[in-house]
């Protein structure tokens, strides 16, 4: 009978000895085992793609360039609590929010743990950019500078005043990025010194610090050519992937995953490819182009290169379809911001307006120099130029809010509550109310 005991015991032992409760995944990487931070930085870039379409839609559909036609999307064009409805939040605001905070966690990890100075500088650029986008969209936001925030301490989630986020995070991070980067990243689409400068200038403009804005943006305008950034000669090329006036873009393509989950991308929304708004073109944008033509003594070539008035959509601007990159910042934008800053600093119209000439010439229009002179008129002229030059690039609404011209330009009285967008309601629930909703939503 000994053989039987032996058999039973041996079967038992064979099984038991292979039974180990400390199991770790053989094919996966634990975050604690991380030694190489390049791929973490790549993820921080990747997460920007989750914010592009929402940002584009917010910039143009909330303003007077584009219209949503089917409920509940029409909430973009009515200024009340409806924009906070679950479907819109899930499609636009939540992906925007969650992807940017993921980008921030990734950058925090690189900044805290990497030993590579360039990686750290790139991470600071992306962190500043992520917070800048969040503040533009939501106003006050939660600030997290840790790669591993505690899930049990809800107090760290308290939304910080936008001014503090600018002063304590965005501005210093861009400054560090400027110090730590050169322009070699431009060719590969990564962060560069000049991009950090350009964004910093834009930040100053948003802060109303026109002196610093003019200095910083002026430096960008003046050093652009040396960095290889020049205006495209043909407006048709200004949003083509990889064109010469791009300072920073978020690459989107069908060949790599997009962190944004929903089906319709910003190109689809603008070109009327989504059934929720098949004819999204706001007639007021047609009027803006026509006014631009009339004031410019010719036909504004940008009209036909931006909108399709027969089908009432914006399908003429983008030809890249699903491979179209999202242009975060290009040289025309910087030139226009520089001109705006100078004008706010009371620089003479005759100095400011010629800055616009290369952009207007390219559009088939005459120079504005001499046609307007007062600071207010120049301000309006630059604003009008921005609208048509940068139409369907996600800027319009944020420009209106920044310049305090929402009511005048939109032609209706809109509560300032709706200058910002709704915080995803899931955040308020998940933080037990520590994260608060914006007024009016």
């Amino acid at each position: 009978m000994k053989t039987i005991y032996l058999a039973i015991v041996s079967v038992l032992l064979i099984t038991a000895c292979d039974n180990d409760l400390d199991q770790t995944p053989p094919l996966l990487l634990e975050s604690s085992a991380l030694e190489e931070f390049g791929p973490v930085l790549n993820a921080a870039y990747y997460y920007q793609s989750g914010g592009s379409t929402p940002l584009g839609v917010m910039g143009d559909f909330r303003a007077d360039n584009m219209l949503m036609l089917e409920s509940p999307y029409t909430a973009f064009d009515t200024y009340n609590a409806d924009l906070g409805g679950l479907d819109l939040v899930e499609q636009f605001f939540r992906p925007f929010y969650s992807n940017l905070y993921k980008a921030i966690l990734s950058t925090n990890n690189v900044i805290d743990n990497s030993t590579d100075a360039t990686e750290i500088a790139e991470a600071k650029f992306l962190r500043a950019l992520s917070y800048f986008k969040l503040v533009m969209v939501f106003g006050d936001v939660t600030v997290n500078l840790s790669p591993a925030p505690s899930p049990s301490d809800l107090s760290i989630l308290t939304r910080q005043p936008a001014a503090d986020v600018y002063n304590n995070v965005i501005i210093p991070d861009f400054q560090d990025a400027i110090a730590g980067l050169d322009n070699s990243g431009l060719t590969s689409g990564r962060a560069s010194k000049i991009a950090a400068q350009a964004f910093l200038g834009k930040v100053y403009l948003y802060r109303g610090n026109f002196t610093e804005a003019a200095t910083t943006l002026g430096a960008v305008v003046n050093s652009a050519a040396a960095a290889g950034i020049t205006l495209e000669s043909d407006f048709a090329n200004v949003v083509v992937d990889g064109n010469s006036e791009i300072i920073f873009a978020t690459p989107l393509s069908t060949s790599v995953p997009n962190a944004y989950g929903s089906a319709t991308t910003f190109v689809g929304w603008f070109s009327g490819a989504d059934t929720k708004s098949l004819t999204p073109l706001d007639p007021r944008l047609i009027d803006a182009f026509d006014a631009s033509s009339a004031a410019g003594g010719g036909t504004d070539l940008r009209k036909a290169l931006t909108i399709d008035t027969e089908n009432m959509n914006g399908s003429n601007k983008y030809t890249g379809a699903l491979d179209q990159d999202y242009i975060d910042l290009r040289l025309s934008d910087v030139i226009l911001m520089y001109a705006e800053a100078l004008n706010e600093n009371n620089v003479a119209a005759t100095t400011v307006l010629p800055l616009l000439d290369p952009i207007r010439t390219r559009a088939g229009l005459n120079s504005l120099t001499g046609t307007v002179s007062s600071q207010a008129d120049v301000r309006q002229a630059i604003a009008d130029e921005r609208r048509v030059e940068l139409a369907l690039e996600g800027h319009r609404w944020f420009d209106l809010v920044r310049t305090g011209t929402v009511n005048i330009e939109m032609g209706e009285t809109i509560s300032s509550d709706y200058n910002v967008f709704p915080i995803p309601n899931s955040e308020i629930l998940a933080s037990d109310g520590v994260i608060t909703q914006n007024e009016g939503y």
């Binding site: 039974n19 409760l21 975050s31 929010y97 997290n144 037990d432």
Partner: protein
């Protein structure tokens, strides 16, 4: 694990030890009842050994004995007889019926126990009861049978798993399916892998004390499946076959209208069309009323289904080697287009006596199932307007072209609203793969919605592809292969002391396939195409070794004990491929894809568990009963600090009717008190590595990216424990012809594992942690009666009713968990709440008092079947406005007030008749289907309805909200009462069957869901439906959410059972 080597070793052991000398001699005989009718299946066992056999169909047995052995003859319903062997050659036995029936043996964890000694809450269903109702799955046979066990048809699809819930839900996040143990082996698969015809008995361990011996696996209850074993003697063959025809129970959903019905309805006084331009109205009514060859989507999508089933089994053996083998085949053609299920089952059970002390067995079970699944969301298919044929006819082509010309004429006449100037073609979607113009259509082409106009053309069609385009260019299926091999060796060390080792492995290979081609998308967007193929192999290797002892000392002390250890490794290996931009016109093979369009995830996970356990049961004089058990379990899924836990249990019983002071035992024949308490643990929904922080990866434009982990490392992640106390009372009257059992339990779940939503600032929407306590209680009552029990006429009625209530008593430092808002893409739905003091998953929101009347719609003619999409809501706090939260009320919960079953069976001579009712009362659900079907998105009221736009209807002063905000609008009563099964059978006279060489033959007719009563306000196809595939699904918290569930099916079956 060197599984193969181990298996071979085991098999070799089994066969090498097969040649032990046998002593003794053969004894044979026949067992009959008092009426001299042979009794089959009587256990014939040599007392104090495990050696035994059973009588065959003719009551014959044969067994090796030696003089001095005591032979015990026992069978359910009869008094056990013991005979000491002297020199008999032949031993015929007449068994006396046992009115009390108490000595039925019940299978419990790692052993068996006499029913009279049972102290926990264990329910048993015999295999004959499973076989009597022809069901496709074992779980279906349990529906309504047992108190405290709720079987819910949550999907309705053929082959889909029903929801099994034993007692109250123990988690807010994790599913609560029970552990399935087949012949002592906890299987990886589900009950679909077991052929209903193979069942000898099913035992359900409901209370913690009974399940505690399974420790970490038993927290949601345990279903113990015992399959049939071979019996020595004559070889028996059995063949069962049936064919069914089926259809959906709910015949016609009123709100799903064809365009023609809609045109008629629109012109009734319920609608006011005065605000619509007369020209536009005429154009629309023409379109609705005169569209030719209209096919109702409901008629097209649903059809009659059918099922055929064949089972064949053989059982037999010699005294020392017994075998049972079966084969089963089932094929179902579903009642929804694209639904089907095909299944093969095979089983072989071998048991061998290798000498007087050593036994061995081998059991093999194989299963293959293929489920064809409707490849598109049902709610989306059903909302398609029934204004067209499915494929164009010449008439429909002519009609759409004429309609487009009518549109142009309307525009030319001066009407300019609604984009009427735009031709149907102008907004057609697609990239030219289909006919690109309505003027190029040919008969037979797929109809798309836009070809009948859209919002832009004055008619409210959608931009979706036609239903045929969706079906013809999509496919979805799931295949499961399952195999289980388990073996045991059992050796009697001394009389009453056995050592047993069970060793085995199972493999469940699941393949899923989902394809959506470019033509299934209305706009023919390449990025909406997908080809997702996954193949995951889950294998488990298990070894259990137990030492067990059973002895009756001095006739009064019945002692049994078991101690053991168990090691289980579970391996997941597989590949999940997700492909998009599916190339058009090429074979569906990833080789033709752009490599960047295919994302492959390789899965390789290991989970290890081990457990050490013991149990002692003691019964004194059949009066005082005690059982105590303990188990220590370790599990690799938990955090480094918290891998082990100990689960004790204690139970007591008192057979008061056996006391001498107890009076008349004929009328009051059973009076027993039971008490048990025990604790259980569960890993609930945890995956293999949730306590670790694992980086995901994704290709990015800059190279590989390491994504933010979905889990935050948590070394303290640990067991959720459930301490449950059960109080039971069993009574029996008139020799137990009437039996009534009552169980009441309370359960306290501590350190509940939850998937808690967290701020996305943390990089993940939810983390797994232990937080909170839930207490539950429930009352279960079972009544079993034998009203008549004669040879020619017997009649039983059984009934049960159960309640289960739960309350969240703590959520750590929180008072409420983040609410789940789960209303699909276009509706908010109610908020699913978990808060201290509430039930799990309460639905909260605005109370509605009715839908705003259609007469108030500004333009009801816009699209087919539109409702107003606005609801009157109640201003709860009376502050004159409807405000978020302040006007919320509890709208319902998915937990029923009670659920019940009622069954009866009757035998009159050769006829048998049985029925089974099942019902549930008082649960609510949120049904989103009508919102889609009626396109109820709101915003369509006349401006005069609320002229000052303050959210109050001017005429009535009532508050109103759009459907998307009117949370109560989709809340419906989920109560139902179903006649699950009705069977009428006829068994041929044995004289007749003998002549043709059969031992028995029965034919039967059966109906499933012949009657199914649903609540008046329920407006979909399946009140038991729960949407579990939507990403918002959060286990018990969202059990109340329903969307496009496959309909309840009514079927009629004709079947035959033959034994020979």
């Amino acid at each position: 694990m060197k599984f193969k080597t181990n298996l071979i070793l085991t098999v070799v052991l089994l066969f090498n030890i097969a040649l032990f000398a046998q002593d003794g001699r053969t004894l044979s005989g026949t067992v009959t009842d008092a009426a001299m009718v042979p009794v089959p299946g009587v256990n014939v066992i040599i007392a104090n050994t495990t050696t035994g056999t059973a009588t065959d169909f003719d009551g014959n047995y044969q067994i090796m004995i030696k003089n001095g052995d005591v032979l015990q003859f026992s069978s359910l319903g009869y008094v056990t007889q013991s005979i000491t062997i002297t020199n008999q050659e032949q031993l015929n036995i007449t068994l006396q019926e046992d009115a009390s029936q108490l000595d039925e043996v019940v299978v419990v964890g790692y052993g068996t126990i006499k029913k009279s000694h049972l102290t926990g809450a264990v329910a048993k269903v015999g295999g004959d009861e499973v076989a009597a109702v022809q069901v496709a799955r074992v779980d279906d046979a349990l529906a309504g049978k047992l108190s405290g066990v709720r079987i819910q048809n949550q999907s309705g699809e053929p082959g889909a798993d029903p929801k099994i819930q034993i007692r109250a839900a123990s988690s807010v996040s994790g599913d609560s399916g029970p552990l399935i143990v087949v012949d002592g082996y906890p299987i990886s698969g589900n009950l679909a892998t077991v052929n209903p015809n193979d069942i000898e008995s099913l035992e359900v361990l409901k209370d913690a004390a009974s399940a505690a011996i399974y420790g970490s696996l038993g927290a949601n209850g345990v279903i113990l499946v015992t399959t049939k074993k071979g019996k020595s003697g004559k070889v028996n063959f059995s063949y069962n076959s049936y064919a069914s025809t089926s259809s959906k129970y709910v015949k016609d959903i009123e709100m799903l209208k064809t365009a023609g019905e809609w045109a008629k309805e629109l012109q009734t006084s319920a609608y006011d069309l005065s605000e619509t331009d007369p020209g536009l109205l005429a154009y629309r009514l023409d379109a609705y009323a005169n569209a030719p060859d209209v096919v109702s989507i409901e008629d097209w999508l649903f059809k009659n289904g059918s099922t055929t089933n064949h089972d064949f089994s053989v059982s037999g053996g010699s005294e020392n080697l017994k075998a049972f083998a079966s084969l089963g085949y089932l094929k179902t053609d579903g009642i929804v287009k694209g639904q089907g299920y095909e299944r093969y089952n095979g089983r072989m059970n071998l048991d061998a006596n290798l000498g007087s002390k050593l036994k061995a067995g081998l059991s093999m079970n194989g299963y293959y199932g293929k489920q064809d699944i409707v490849p598109w969301e049902m709610r989306d298919l059903l909302r398609s307007y029934s204004i067209s044929p499915i494929y164009h006819t010449q008439a429909s082509i002519d009609f759409v072209q004429q309609l487009d010309r009518n549109r142009q004429a309307l525009f030319d006449s001066g009407f300019t609203g609604n984009n009427i100037g735009r031709s149907f073609d102008q907004d057609y979607r697609g990239i030219g793969l289909d006919p690109t113009s309505i003027y190029d259509l040919q008969p037979g082409d797929v109809v798309h919605d836009w070809q009948y106009g859209r919002n832009q053309n004055g008619i409210g069609g959608t931009g979706d592809a036609g239903v045929a385009a969706k079906f013809d260019n999509s496919r979805r299926w799931k295949k499961t292969y399952f195999g289980n091999v388990s073996s045991y060796l059992q050796y009697e060390i001394i009389n009453g002391l056995n050592i047993k080792t069970v060793f085995g492995a199972d493999l469940e290979d699941t393949q899923t396939y989902e394809y959506h081609g470019i033509l299934s998308d209305g706009q023919q967007r390449s990025n909406q195409t997908e080809l997702d193929i996954s193949n995951i192999k889950k294998s488990t290797v298990l070894s259990t070794t137990t030492l067990s002892y059973a002895k009756v000392l001095a006739e009064k002390h019945d002692i049994s004990a078991v101690a053991g250890m168990e090691f289980v490794n579970t391996y997941y290996k597989g590949i999940v491929n997700n492909g998009t931009n599916v190339p058009f016109g090429l074979p569906l093979n990833y080789d033709f894809f752009d490599p960047a369009d295919v994302i492959t995830n390789e899965i390789d996970e290991t989970q290890s568990r081990n457990g050490f356990f013991g149990r002692i049961a003691y019964a004194f004089d059949d009066r005082y009963l005690l059982s105590a058990s303990i188990r220590r379990d370790g599990d690799s899924r938990f955090g480094a600090n918290e891998k082990y836990a100990v689960f004790p249990a204690l139970s007591l019983g008192w057979n008061i009717h056996n006391e001498s002071f107890f009076g008349d035992r004929d009328t009051f024949s059973l009076f027993k008190l039971r008490f048990s308490t025990g604790s259980l643990g569960t890993a609930s929904f945890l995956g293999s590595y949730n306590s670790l922080s694992i980086l995901g990866t994704s290709p990015t434009a800059y190279g590989t990216g390491f994504l933010i982990p979905e889990d935050i490392a948590n070394p303290d992640l640990t067991w959720q424990t459930n301490k449950e106390t059960n109080y039971g009372l069993d009574t029996g009257f008139i020799n137990n012809r009437i039996r009534l059992s009552v169980d009441y339990y309370t359960s306290d779940v501590k350190d509940m594992l939850i998937n808690q939503s967290v701020s996305e600032v943390l990089g993940t929407p939810a983390i797994k942690l232990n937080r909170g306590d839930v207490t539950s209680s429930g009352l279960e009552i079972e009544l079993n009666t034998k009203i008549v029990s004669n040879e020619n006429f017997s009649w039983n009625i059984n009934a049960n009713v159960s309640t289960a209530k739960s309350e969240i008593t703590s959520l750590g430092e929180l008072t409420e968990l983040p609410r789940q808002i789960y209303g699909g893409p276009s509706g908010r739905g109610p908020e699913f709440r978990n808060y201290v003091g509430g039930e799990i998953g309460e639905m909260w929101g605005y109370e509605v008092t009715g839908e705003v009347e259609t007469i108030h719609m500004s333009d009801p003619s816009r699209g087919v079947g539109y409702g107003s999409g606005e609801w009157y809501v109640v201003d709860q706090n009376g502050d004159g406005e409807i405000t978020y939260e302040e006007d919320y009320v509890k709208l319902g919960s998915a937990t029923p007030d009670f659920y019940w079953g009622l069954s009866s069976s009757m035998n009159i001579r050769n006829f048998d008749f049985s029925f089974q009712f099942q019902g549930s009362q008082g649960a609510e659900l949120y049904n989103i289907d009508p919102i889609y079907w009626k396109s109820q998105f709101g915003g369509r009221l006349k401006s005069s309805f609320d002229a000052n736009d303050d959210g109050i209807a001017d005429a009535s002063g009532k508050f109103y909200q759009e459907t998307r905000n009117a949370h109560g609008s989709g809340i419906q009563d989920a109560s139902f009462a179903a006649l699950r099964n009705l069977t009428l059978g006829y068994t041929l006279n044995s004289d007749l069957t003998d002549k043709i060489g059969l031992s028995s033959m029965r034919i039967y007719l059966a109906a499933t869901n012949l009657l199914y009563i649903m609540a008046d306000n329920y407006t979909s196809f399946n009140p038991e439906g729960v949407e579990i595939e939507n990403s918002g699904y959060a286990g018990p918290t969202t059990y109340g959410y329903q969307e496009g569930a496959s309909p309840i099916v009514r079927s009629f079956t004709l079947g035959i059972n033959v034994n020979f």
